[in-house]
Symmetry: D4
Subunit: 161 residues, 8 copies
């Protein structure tokens, strides 16, 4: 797990998604999982998405995360180009608050799954990637348990009134 | 306009969309506009969609129609591969009645438009293709006016009670 | 394509829609497509809409764009008065965030299509008009390809981290 | 109130709306209020709607009811052509269960009101027309009270178990 | 029509609805229709609503307007206590943007109609009351036509660009 | 707890709600809690609701359940007439599947709570009434625990494959 | 009713829910009902929720209130661990305005009821707890009636215009 | 990969979910991935869920799938008890068509991710489990590619007209 090469590739459809999507990178960093971020639009740069996704395995990427808003096709397109697990982050849209992003991401046709997390749920996308990788890299499982314990301790420590 | 070669290409994501999508072919046939239908899934056969759309202009196609349900990416993917106008037909889905199909089709990002019609609105997609072609082929404009007149006459002829 | 006379007529139901709808004019301007903007309400000035739409062809207009919010009938009313293709822009409403605008625009009855784009999607409406006109005016197709390339280059140029 | 000439004009966008809309005629009949039904589509026969609505006052019509489904513009269009009160009945649509019909009917712009009742609420549209007419025709008020009493008696008479 | 006594009673469920609901009074004032406003909650002061509504006819009230948000029962409760026409104004709620207000107002059971206008549509409620009263008071019809003409003139006067 | 007199009053807005609402009576019967059912419409028989609810305490009723569909005001109206806890059951409506029933029941204004259960959740309404009564009648708590154990045992007993 | 020990336990899934949830404590305080607040997350500290809920009866707690947002499982989890009545407060979420919180709270499976109040309806949750306790503690019923009278008086005192 | 012991545990909240959820088992079987199915309700048998999930790793389970409808807490509860990746299948509900199931599953709080697939998307849940396991078991990757090729071939083989 002292990989230098990224294990997780985080793709977003627009630079404006960065504010949300860096939440995935931050939690992965804190768990010691190397990752990379990339802007590539399923609609405006389909070749870039194709190239990024199809070369990901040879670069050592094992889990992909895609974040997009509106007609949020990016993770679905990514999932259609690989057998790697693809996690989708519906980014909150201006008009419909992310309901469009969520539905266009999660309601994938049979055969091509996208592991969708909640609207703007980039941090959970990173944690899901970590859970997936922990099957293969046992030391990660320990870090996830520690993370959960700290999270629980923080809640237990809250004193009201 | 006595084209033998199709001017309109109708693509659907699954054979189960045929029942809805043939409405587009039928209205185009009745207006004397040659057309072709194709099953090609944006997710399960991205290369087939790519090949179909990118070769469409050289085969004489001038307008594309894409129909799909659920996370209905097909017309958006088509629009990202061509400068031809792409009309989208959201096909009614089982669970959410086509709201998912509609939102994932119409809420396209800036730069890549899809001309979306109503849920299961394949007939209107055909009529929209005809309106678009009528700019270039004036005889079509006359047929569209006749069509509208027949439609209006049918309504005027209804006698209640 | 060095038309002086507008090819595209952009109609909006209220002056308050101007902020959104000028996005259509701007992209058309940048593509060198002459266009005009007009405020005309389907409900408050039905005669004005009637006059504008029915005289549009003789003034050289080949594509119409209608933008409105709430019970957004404007593009549907326009489409009922012409055989020109009508593009609809659902303008985001105050209460329901444009869901009302979208549904009352896209769910047109069989026979009268409106080419609906996303909520506040005026720029995409302009691009869709350009794609439609490019069927007849081949030099437009080249400009659209260039536009797409610039758009893609801009995304490719983004460096994160 | 022994008018032979209709006081209420019931317009529907399609013959398929008759099954729902006759509920308005039936309650009006039972209250002794002459009425007429007409099929006229706001989109497919705008001139027919225009003619019907603008000549309604000279034919003695005092209240208008419009029923339609989907992008249900009919009552809004009617209201834009008259100062008579217009009652709207959103007819349940196939895909979105009438949510589209309701929103495109009720969310009218400032200046042009539509008195909207519930989805498929034709009977309530008839009762609302009667309440409106009862302001002018006092004998109607008595019939409405009797109707309410019968309705209440029927509920009071129910014995469970 | 030089009534001193109010013809229209405007009831709202909470003082916080006043900002929206005064739109009804203002348009009625401008049309010369005497009106009164009252805060009375269907849930917190049911007796006050009962008293206000059941005594309204003897005070000369001919049309009632009720505005409320959330589980917006007020106009429905009012309609259950009178045979006067009751107009409902769904006031935009904090959480669900008025969808709850709208549905709980418009979806009335058969027998008790509420003439619902759009979310926050108090001005349209006032205009609808005027249209209803104009059946009985012909001079109102003229004012409504003048109002519509001014409204149309204002739109026609807009010059873009 | 060997009460002969009903402790729970189940009110429904229409006889058509009986099929759903008897689920509340059945679970109460099975827990040995006397109850009674009544049809009384908030809109069509407001006096009947008033009388039923205001006399309930003197008849020994300690918990009220109200079930209704559409603009489902019944439990809210009941809650406005008593200090007894009122449980609301949103009955599934034809057009909007109970979303209207749910929102018009649960979104009560501050001051008048309705304890809302799920759409068509009459059985849970009965169980909630039992939980409430168990605070005062301790033997009920034991029956509720037994009920939960049987329910759990039934699930544990399921063998798949 | 001069209990020193809390009768009502208010649990919230996150410290960020405190701003909303203290509304429950405040109304309980004003009615003289001792209560306690606790942060415990159904997902991040399931053991803490388990411990809190299962020990509540022996600490004298008779009613539980749970508030959470998003996939708001907390009150459902609480209800699965006790036979005490559990009141749920859907806290408004960032993306979907509390529709997700509401649906994931109220749509409980048969057997495990949650008494759900409106979105951010903590005050009503407190009042509902008071109504429930008033069955057992008659002096509370008087305070609730006084509270209702003050509330009504405040509305009656409003003078408009 | 010739494991006899299940690698994937499929849990469902009710036996009525079996019809949908067996889709996950079938696709896993066809890919040669041992799996087991279990009925355990998050609300009615929380201890059973606790026991099943916390003992899953020692039984060799590496991926968990949870399917439920309505307030569909099951996969969220599972995810709170383990660091294994948990896939959620929102099962279509009767009233709200699965929108409630979807939102209460996907909108998990930060810290506890659920990999949600589409409504009734059990087959995609199985495929997602396979993609996850393929990171560790390379022979699975080949089977997934073969599966995708067969799927694509089936679509390519469709001949219309």
């Amino acid at each position: 797990m002292t990989h230098k090469k990224p294990l997780v590739g985080i793709v977003m459809g627009s630079a404006s998604d960065l504010e949300v999507m860096r939440g995935a990178a931050e939690i992965l960093d804190s768990l010691g999982i190397a990752n990379e971020m990339k802007v590539a639009s399923a609609h405006r740069t389909p070749e870039l998405v194709h190239e990024y996704v199809t070369t990901a395995p040879q670069r050592g990427i094992e889990v992909l995360i895609g974040g997009a808003g509106g007609a949020a096709h990016l993770p679905g397109v990514m999932a259609s180009l690989t057998t790697l697990p693809v996690i989708g982050v519906p980014v909150q849209s201006k008009a419909l608050q992310g309901l469009d992003s969520l539905l266009s991401m999660v309601q994938m046709p049979s055969g091509i799954p996208v592991a969708t997390v909640g609207i703007d749920g980039a941090k959970n996308a990173g944690l899901l990637a970590a859970r997936i990788l922990a099957i293969k890299y046992p030391e990660l499982e320990k870090r996830l348990r520690e993370y959960a314990e700290v999270m629980a301790d923080n809640i237990r420590a809250i004193q009201l009134g």
